[in-house]
């Protein structure tokens, strides 16, 4: 089987453009069929491997139910057994660390708590292929957007065709643009009516790192390629990721770790079909979808539909870093995750709405916003005049502090303030 490296993607209209349209809608479940989902992947990495069991769900349900208390094991060459234990709900981790060995075959066996057993076909570990190069280039994509493309080159020494699936993990530095060394300090969050003292908010030095954070996300899309149909068993400029120049994640320093999984043809075809059924389609022709048969079947009921695949891959990975300023020198940074221009000035207290009297039961918008985690200290209001009298309260009354949305002053909203171990400046 040969696959051209082209994908048909056009979401809206071509030529009759505005006349035809694609619009999103809220899917409703017509008939629901419960099915076991097996997300099982072994690699040639020496580690505790993870297998996840869950149940399919109707559209209306937000999260999937985990499949609990199953017996999970992987059998190597029909003789070595690796047991998996449930460490979290539906998450099964191999008891021992092991790696999928070259030329060995592996079989997955699962017995669910209701006594049904499932077997996978025996899967052989493919040959490992190194990533030759991973690099970025400034590029304009098909939609005319300028940005950074991450490309990969790879070369196999074998003669047979190779099938690849890529995953990546990206980590980027986030710097809060309106970071301030001081934080609000709510001294008295009760009004006069409650404790006899008025509301009081002061300042204190920040207690944790809130300026520089790091965030890590994982790829979600299926990215595949193959060398069949190629003259040489090598890949050049295979696109891993495109990031728009206006995406805040590359504002400072960005790192991507690309994992190259060498797949078997069966696994490759399965993922390819899965991807075809879940990608944007042409308005005019649509792939005929249907149930995608994986490599796991039920011993008890051969007609039972099982979702997922037992995949064994040989993996290599490579990490690169880049700085925005190195790629786009002298250019302004991409816009921050949220708009940080608006300055907020919440009032320290409000009179009770119905009586307009200062009986102390009124609210404090400032303290409420601080406690809800909505704002961060930005500056002190020089025009603020302290008043506790209802008579003096008027339109010109100011809040004691200027504030910004939390994400503008605290990077922890968008990441973690703990620098990852691998991170190199």
């Amino acid at each position: 089987m040969r696959n051209g490296p082209y994908i048909l993607v056009f979401l809206c209209p071509i030529f009759i453009g505005t006349m035809s349209c694609v619009e999103p809608f809220e899917a409703e479940t017509q008939v629901f069929e419960n099915a076991l989902v097996i997300d099982a992947r072994l690699t040639d990495e020496f580690k505790r491997h993870r297998i996840e069991l869950s149940r399919a769900r109707p559209f209306e349900q937000e999260t999937s139910m985990a499949e609990l208390k199953a017996t999970v094991m992987v059998i190597e060459d029909a003789k070595n057994f690796y047991d998996f234990h449930e460490v979290e709900q539906g998450q099964y981790l191999s008891v021992k660390e092991f790696s999928a060995k070259q030329n060995s075959s592996y079989e997955l066996r699962i017995t669910t708590s209701d006594g049904k057993s499932y077997n996978s076909e025996a899967v052989t570990t493919p040959e490992k292929i190194a990533i030759e190069d991973l690099y970025v280039e400034i590029e304009t994509n098909n939609s005319g957007e300028e940005g950074v493309s991450v490309f990969l080159d790879s070369r196999s020494v074998t003669n047979s065709a190779s099938y690849f699936r890529y995953e990546y993990e990206e980590t980027y530095k986030v710097i809060a643009p309106y970071w301030n060394p001081f934080d609000f300090d709510v001294i008295d969050d009760k009004g006069v009516g409650e404790d006899g003292d008025p509301f009081e908010v002061g300042l204190k030095p920040k207690e944790r790192e809130e300026r520089v954070c790091y965030n890590t996300t994982f790829s979600t899309a299926i990215n595949q390629t193959a060398t069949d149909g190629l003259e040489e068993n090598k890949l050049k400029r295979h696109s891993i990721r495109f990031i728009s120049k206006n995406n805040y994640i590359i504002s400072h320093r960005y790192s991507i770790l690309v994992q190259q999984h060498v797949q078997n043809l069966d696994a490759f075809s399965y993922y390819q079909s899965l991807n075809a059924f879940s990608s944007s389609e042409s308005v005019f022709f649509e792939n005929q979808p249907g149930f995608l048969l994986g490599n796991i079947s039920s011993e008890t009921n051969p007609d039972e539909k099982i979702l997922g695949f037992f995949e064994v891959t040989a993996v290599t990975s490579k990490r690169i870093y880049f700085n925005y300023q190195d790629l786009f020198p002298l250019e302004p940074l991409p816009p921050y995750y949220i708009n940080c221009e608006p300055i907020q000035e919440p009032l320290l207290w409000l009179p009770t709405a119905d009586t307009h009297s200062f009986d102390g039961t009124g609210r404090s918008p400032l303290i409420e916003a601080i406690q809800a985690g909505l704002i961060k200290y930005y500056a002190t209001n020089p025009d603020y005049v302290e008043t506790f009298s209802i008579d003096e309260l008027n339109e010109n009354t100011r809040g004691p502090y200027f504030a910004k949305a939390t994400a503008c002053g605290d990077c922890n909203v968008l990441g973690s303030n703990i620098k990852p171990d691998f991170w190199i400046e």
Binding site: R2, G4, N34, E232
Partner: protein, 924 residues
Amino acid sequence: MRNILFVFLLLFANFLLAQESSPKISLSYTESTIKDVLKNIEDSTDYKFYYVDEWLGDQKVSGSYQDADLTEVLEDLFQSTILNFYVLDNEKVILTQNNIIYDELPTGFFIKSNQEQIQVTEERDVGGSQNPVFVADERLPQQRNIQTVRIGKETLDGQKRRYTLSGYVRNAKTGNPIPDLSLIIRNRKIGTVTDENGFYEISVPLGENLFETKALGIESQQKRVLIYNDGQLDFNLNESIEQLDEVVVEADKTKNVEEEITGSTTIESEETKDIPMVLGERNILSVATQLPGITNAGEGASGINVRGGKTDQNLFLLDEGVVYNPTHFFGIFQALNPFATKGVDIYKGNVPAEYGGRLSSVFDITTIDGNTEKFSGEASIGPVTGNLMLEIPIVKDKSSLVVGGRGAYSDWILRSLDEESLSNSSASFYDVVANYTHKINENNQIKATGYYSDDSFSITSDSLFGYNNRMLSVNWNHKFNEKNSGALAVSNSKYAFDIGFDGQANNDFLLGYSVEETEAKLKFKYVMNDTHTFDYGVAAKLYNVNPGFIRPTGSESIISPFEVPEDRALEGAIYLSDNITLGDKVGLSAGIRYSYYTALGPSTQRIYADGQPRNQATLIGSSEFDDNETVETYGGPEFRVSGRYSFTPDFSIKAGFNSMYQYIHTLSNTTTVSPIDTWKLSDSNIRPQRSNQFSLGLFKNFKDDLYELSIEGYYKTAEDVLDFKTGAQLLLNENIEQEVLQGEGQAYGVEFLLRKNSGKLNGWLGYTYSRSLIKFASDFAEERINGGEFFPSNYDKPHDVSLVANYKFTTRYSASLNFSYQTGRPVTYPIGQYNFNNSEYVFYSNRNEFRIPDYYRLDIGINIEGNHRIKKFAHSFWNISVYNVLGRANPYSVFFVSEGGEVKAFKSSIFAIPIPSITYNFKF
């Protein structure tokens, strides 16, 4: 008005008796108009004249009178005109054109009611026999636009029964006399013929005469001629080009009822011009889908489904040559030049034995025969395409060339759209057609046709798709004698597509596919007697399929060139059919066709283990075949039998049985047809498709064939129809049989059609109830679909209503309306979602268990014909239409996308808003 006045006067005729002595007039005038003279008389006397200015004309008169009677003056004055006068009450003078005002009733007026009166009348002999010319406006509505001509002046004395009318008949354009033209006076049942100089003379009765001219190639003209006296009448007549068409229409009037075969329809291209279509593009194939039994999967779905059959089961023939994809732009436009296309005969029930090779239908499309008389043409300008067709006489009356070209200038529309994702998209298409007809002699005629259509579109900046059709055919019709005739048709067709990829990496390529076929067909007709008419013949066809190739493009590319080896096959057929007429009541058409198919080497055929699903694991070997070696043969008899019984001349019942073989199949893993679907020949692993159809119908014409009503039912079974495993890779797949499933098909339905072909309001109303089911059963799960049970096909739309109506306000203005309603087509809808590999996905179970919402659409159009002035260079035609007036966003498909780890549901519609368009056509 004049006639009413006349009648009014007539009623009082008895009171308007003879004139008393009148005043004398003295006057003289030279070179004055009659009007001035009358004015002069009015000024100098008490007389008052009543007349219409126009009657008097610009004629100059001279005269001199001394104490003359008014009568004398006026008689002289009106001598050279066709005016008569009547003097009322000695002061009022009423002028009349042609007519005389009688001051008494004619002889015999009250013959039955009052004998006495007659006596009185007879005594008053005013002299001469009086035969007044009465003309009442009792013309039928369609006669109202007939010109009325008045000849001569009525005289009171010397009236004759017959007068002599003479004149010349000339060709309006050339001015040449028209000899041998029949002049018929319909209401008198008399007539004459023009001599070689176009001169005629005929003795005609007094009064109203309805003249009609008739000659071959000359437009028939009618004139209402009121004869008052001898006179001359010349005719200037136009040549008529469409006279033959009119004859055809007449002959087909009862075809609905009388034809033996069921399920056949004819659509004339010209007829479809009034029907509103997307962006004003005339589309005979879309019009066909408005007829019962013919549907498509939706707007933007190329391919037509006939009576529950797959899209690859239709044979599109253009002048006997196959056209694989007769559509442009995903099926939205037809790839046929509407001006060069005469029409299409569609066979969806009983297919004549001469055709074969597709299970569901035959679309027999013919191009026009060019004008051998004079250079003429037709052109149109619409929002999408420009079209020009020329008819060029080569040898007068013998041969002619037709050349048509049509192209889309759509790229500008695309570019003008303010849609970022489209900035790199483009789409364009064109088609050209040419034919040459040559009438060698009475018995031999040759027609050669060439056709080419091309589409190209690109969606992303790095890929370009293109597909094209090519067809060449030569037809030689020969008449051996009165009873025997024959025809030889030789054709060659090719369909090809390619995808060019020009990215930024090292994998630029060109991928392509092509299918080519060459056919020779010899057919004969033998009219033995009134009872038997035989059609027989033989056909052979050679297929060459290039199932796919990929080539690197650019020096950088490391794509390795690859080609799936060529497939070749020979398809032959021999047929015989007899049309038997047994009296007026019974007609029978019995045909048999034996088709034979051979897959030819060189070829490698893979062998799979018996009783195992076909996949890489069960592949146990292969066998090699040399050049032209027989790889596999298939074949069998196909029966085409149908009969008619007429209860009355306009009411019949028909029944038929039809069986077919199909040796070439499309491979498609999309829900609707895509231009990159490939055609695959049957081989040792893929069997031909077969079908049987039973049909029964009642046909009735009403009101002198003004209305046609039919109800037809059918039941159809098919074997070895193709489908594919979920997620099949079809392009460049050497082992395609591992992806192919062959199963059963079942379709049945009832079609109702009410049609009105003429009159101010014409059109049709159709309703179809039909089902189309398929079944793929196997012992192995991977080769089963929906558990091996029957399930609805992608185009199973049980209820289908179409209304096409055209209303002619006048000969120039008409409005048309087009309405369709269909049950929503089946779709495969996910039955849940799940998490896998860090993302959400939906999962599908059984195919086609749900339906998208029902489809309905209303289109309206206004058609304005330019006026028919003879001298005008061209005859123009404006078409203003709005497609999808209701602006309904008919869902076309529903799909689910995993984006950013989440499932998103989308629905698409092709024409979601009303689409107005204006098209200008002209003929010259």
